[in-house]
Symmetry: C2
Subunit: 315 residues, 2 copies
């Protein structure tokens, strides 16, 4: 076997991130999984590790291109694009970058909720355009503090969101695989039941097939006319067509969305809505957090190559 090399996969790596990986380890680069088959045999057989960034599916067929592959290190906490079962069957480790992004994602979730309630994008535009100076006023909007909020999925990120919302005097409800230790928050066995009890849903599920359309048409319909849906997880966790229908028909009050199906080529119906706050999947998008994610990804690869325990293994 020739010298081990790292395959860097994903054209969304920044210049700085890619340089850091290439400086640390002998590397080859592909824009994404679909370009892997075109690599020369010698390169493919030398690949011991793949550093992945992006959401293009990486399955068993791609893994089989690399006979000496030992670790797939994902940049991001959500690894739903990687077929972990296929990796495990092949004895390939998968790692992700949990925890280092929890604060950023929770910050954005809370701010999207306030921005939606308080009509902040329109407020900024009213001032910046000079229309406020000319005498136009912002319509009254909606109080956020004290709202009844249901967290769909009280994992690490959901917990960070709930802790923040508690400081806004919100009445916290949650669903989760099991009842958790909380400061008196209300557990619900299903999102349908929770949607009946709350005005606002904040979706903080993991992605993947098991949570697909977990926030179903029935859940969205149960929210009612004061309903607001915040999603910082994956577009797949919500029945997006049902959400769009409810938003277009005014059957719920609004949404704040950082994630969508088919990003970035999202459903153009979203762009016409005036009752949504939209973000370009930037939940972990601070320089500080992206730096920590890049370091953790590299640390997992280096640990594997050194035979040390992985930092944040998935399988």
């Amino acid at each position: 076997m020739s010298d081990p090399i790292l395959l860097i996969s994903g054209d969304s790596f920044s210049e700085q991130e890619r340089t850091r990986l290439e400086t640390a380890l002998a590397s080859a680069f592909v824009a994404g999984p679909s370009d892997m088959a075109a690599l020369p045999d010698a390169v493919r057989s030398s690949v011991r590790a793949i550093a992945v960034k992006g959401h293009h599916p990486l399955g068993g067929a791609e893994m089989d291109l690399f006979p000496n592959l030992g670790v797939i290190a994902n940049y991001g906490v959500g690894y739903d694009a990687i077929d972990v079962t296929a990796a495990t069957e092949r004895g390939i480790n998968v790692t992700n970058t949990p925890d280092v992004l929890n604060d950023d994602v929770a910050d954005l979730a809370v701010a999207m909720l306030i921005a939606q309630c308080r009509n902040m994008v329109a407020g900024d535009d009213l001032v910046r355009s000079g229309r406020w100076s000319a005498g136009e006023n912002l319509p009254l909007n909606r109080q956020m503090s004290g709202s009844t909020v249901g967290i769909v999925g009280l994992g690490r990120i959901g917990r960070e969101i709930a802790d923040r919302l508690a400081a806004f005097k919100c009445d916290i409800h949650y669903t989760s695989r099991s009842r958790k230790e909380t400061p008196g928050w209300t557990f619900h066995a299903s999102p349908e039941e929770m949607a009946e009890a709350v005005d606002i849903l904040v979706v903080a599920l993991v992605g993947g097939v098991e949570t697909e359309k977990h926030v179903s048409r029935q859940v969205i319909d149960a929210l009612g006319p004061r309903g607001i849906v915040i999603n910082i997880s994956r577009g797949s966790t919500i029945d997006e067509a049902a959400l769009l229908d409810a938003l277009e028909e005014g059957r719920i009050a609004g949404a704040g969305l950082d994630v969508f199906l088919n990003e970035p080529k999202i459903d153009p119906r979203f762009l016409k809505l005036d009752n949504v706050h939209l973000q370009p999947h930037q939940g972990s998008g601070s320089s500080e957090t992206r730096g920590r994610m890049a370091k953790l990804q590299l640390a997992n690869i280096e640990a594997f190559l050194a035979g040390d325990p992985l930092k944040t293994p998935v399988n």
Copy 2:
């Protein structure tokens, strides 16, 4: 003396608010203090109470137009437009609407800070314009959680802001007339001293002459290149020219402002800046809060006319 009447002063009262006052009490209406002298003598001598909304100065000269005036009830917590000394000298009560708006104002302060750090207005625009779908990305931005934040004025609203920011793991510093009971927050004797120690200033002072330019050029200069200024108090509390200079020259990182000098005809220099988040003085602008403010204003007037203790007296 003829039957007592209420004078409603301020063209920013909503239709609903004005109707509520007119239904509760026999009333006359003026757009603002400058129209008071034009009222007929018989109306002026019948006025026992004035309900004020807006920021136009109301001084002793106006008060002297109403020989039987007993109470000036302000809509809003900040009563800096009313000359309270002149009112007290004339035996006129002044009331405001504190506390009922604290949550809304604190929500907006926190959300403006996150929106500024995370570039959220640009993020929404990137998605909504279709540029994200076309391949453009939002530049990385700045983490908010864990920041070192100085609250300028730890009164009732400042405390609400600090409590929320503590849930974002911020290191809380504050200035105040006196050291307060806090969960370990850092007291500073002056804003200059605090600005050296923190990255972010959140201004939550009362308005009026005693706090004018309290956030001085020196304070702003001491913040440094990572400095962000959030203001939800009054435009007068900051040396606005110094703030504009620092923002234009990039000597601080940004600002989130709900209040300005000469609202709504604000300095047009603000409109050209890409490092600010701007709001049209909507801190208390939710329907829920504005309803509570209107009710409290009327309750103060009714208490005065019934000879009962005032709900929220200022003097």
